[in-house]
């Protein structure tokens, strides 16, 4: 996979994530988000074990304990920032909330600097433009009462930036298929404990129906098994900053889905000039990062080899 292909895969992953809201709309409110995460991650992991069982078994022979601990660690971080997002987002509407989540783009270069990694000027420029987009989108809709929510989301974004850096590091060190399967399983197990805390009767508390089962199945294939596997493989070729900036296109997809899909499925997005400028800034920031002539040249060389 070359640089261009990795970016396309990351865009696909981001699109899969942005469809979450549509899929969630088909799940009754009685089903806890932790239940959805736990079940879909475990099913996604089972699918990966089914498809790549032999490869996973071989991959686990070396450094089994290290891989398991690492996956458990990033799953805990994942569960942590998702929980913070849930609390923080309660203060925002859908479109503004989506923009606040992109603060990860802004925190990422600083976390990288703290970890003594080099950050290129292109990344700083992209992050700056995406930040400008976030600020534009929030002009006029942000109030002082939302500051606690924003602070919680900002902490979540710092954790997510750390998660992406660690995932990027582990993806380069381990077999991506093994890593994807273990992330699914450990994510499912960690979420199960959260699920038990909020809904002690767990599986019995779900109003099972063909639609709920079909919805969970779709979520397991596309948002979990496919997206996680593509993400881990793409992370081997992308930098954490590069990946984070591409993830920020989730806002663009969310705004488009919110503007196009019926209000029964997703809270409608009212396109204001500020929102449009915000989205344009995010797209421009992404293009600056993705269309890096130096890396595109490397891509051509890789294509020859």
């Amino acid at each position: 996979m070359n640089y261009l292909q990795a970016n396309l895969c990351l865009l696909c992953v981001t699109f899969c994530w942005s469809t979450e809201v549509v899929i969630f709309a088909c799940i009754p409110d009685a089903v806890s988000p932790f239940a959805v995460t736990s079940i879909t991650f475990l099913v996604g992991g089972a699918l990966l074990f089914l498809a790549f069982g032999r490869r996973i078994a071989t991959g686990l022979r070396a450094d089994r304990k290290k891989q398991l601990l690492r996956c458990l660690w990033i799953s805990v971080i994942n569960a942590g920032y998702n929980t913070l997002y849930q609390f923080g987002l309660a203060d925002f509407d859908v479109s503004t909330g989506a923009f606040t989540l992109s603060l990860t783009v802004v925190t990422m270069p600083f976390i990288l600097l703290l970890m003594r990694s080099r950050v290129g000027w292109r990344t700083w420029l992209s992050s700056g433009i995406v930040l400008a987009g976030i600020l534009f989108a929030m002009v006029g809709v942000m109030s002082r009462a939302q500051l606690p929510g924003l602070s919680i989301i900002a902490i979540g974004c710092v954790m997510r930036a750390y998660y992406i850096i660690k995932l990027n590091q582990y993806a380069r060190e381990h077999d991506p298929v093994v890593l994807s399967a273990l992330i699914c399983v450990s994510g499912g197990v960690v979420s199960y404990f959260f699920w038990m805390a909020v809904q002690p009767n767990t599986f019995m508390g779900i109003p099972w129906s063909p639609v709920v089962i079909a919805t969970l199945a779709i979520y397991s294939f596309f948002v979990v098994a496919l997206a996680i596997t593509l993400n881990v493989f793409a992370q081997r070729r992308a930098t954490p900053a590069n990946a984070t900036i591409i993830y920020s296109t989730e806002i663009v997809f969310s705004v488009i889905l919110g503007a196009v899909l019926p209000s029964s499925l997703i809270d409608p997005v009212h396109l204001t000039p500020f929102l449009v400028v915000g989205v344009v800034c995010v797209v421009v920031g992404n293009l600056i990062e993705i269309l890096d002539p130096g890396k595109m040249r490397n891509k051509g060389e890789e294509a020859v080899t």
């Binding site: 261009l4 088909c26 991506p176 079909a214 493989f233």
Partner: protein, 181 residues
């Protein structure tokens, strides 16, 4: 892997993707959202004619099981075979170079081929549906078929093909190496 095992696996994957979307009306009023269309180019390029047959038979089985087996299923069967077959023909039989999605030019070319295949399927199914069911809005129906057969193969199909070819060791068919059932 033996040929019958490959076919079985192709059918299994087809139904795993198709069945949940039949049960769940993803978008009310847009009942015919078919992400399973993403498999068409993948099956055509990596598995050839047997892959095209899986797409056609799978669609027919879904129609039968879903209670929508009608006269329009016949052109549907033909379109679901010929659409992927066109991709196979252009990417394998008529291709001057081995299939690859490594450069922008190759990606664009593949998108064009997907568009052609979707247009062929639309042209095959829409007139038949409009003739058999005059009450159906043919323009809207054609739009849905076109969207299904372009959006899913491009948005999901291309990244999956990249993953299969570049990272998971699947080799696209070439004129010399083809799977014959």
């Amino acid at each position: 892997m033996k040929k019958w095992k490959t076919l079985l696996a192709l059918f299994l994957v087809y139904f795993i993707v198709a069945v949940p979307f039949r049960v769940m009306g993803v978008i009310p009023g847009f009942t015919d959202v078919r992400p399973v269309a993403l498999l068409g180019p993948i099956y055509a390029v990596f598995f050839g004619v047997p892959g095209c047959w899986v797409m056609a038979v799978g669609n027919l089985v879904m129609d039968a099981v879903g209670g929508s087996l009608r006269w329009s299923s016949i052109p549907g069967f033909a379109a679901n075979f010929l659409g992927p077959y066109l991709i196979y023909w252009l990417c394998v039989r008529r291709a001057k170079k081995p299939f690859s999605l490594r450069t922008g030019r190759e990606l664009l070319k593949h998108c064009w081929i997907i568009l052609l295949s979707a247009a062929l399927q639309t042209v095959l199914i829409t007139p038949a549906v409009a003739w058999i069911y005059p009450e159906v809005d043919a323009g809207f129906f054609a739009l849905i078929v076109m969207l299904n057969d372009t959006a899913f193969p491009i948005v999901f199909g291309i990244p999956i093909m990249i993953l299969l070819q570049e990272e998971l060791g699947f080799r696209p068919l070439t004129k010399e190496k083809e799977m014959i059932v």
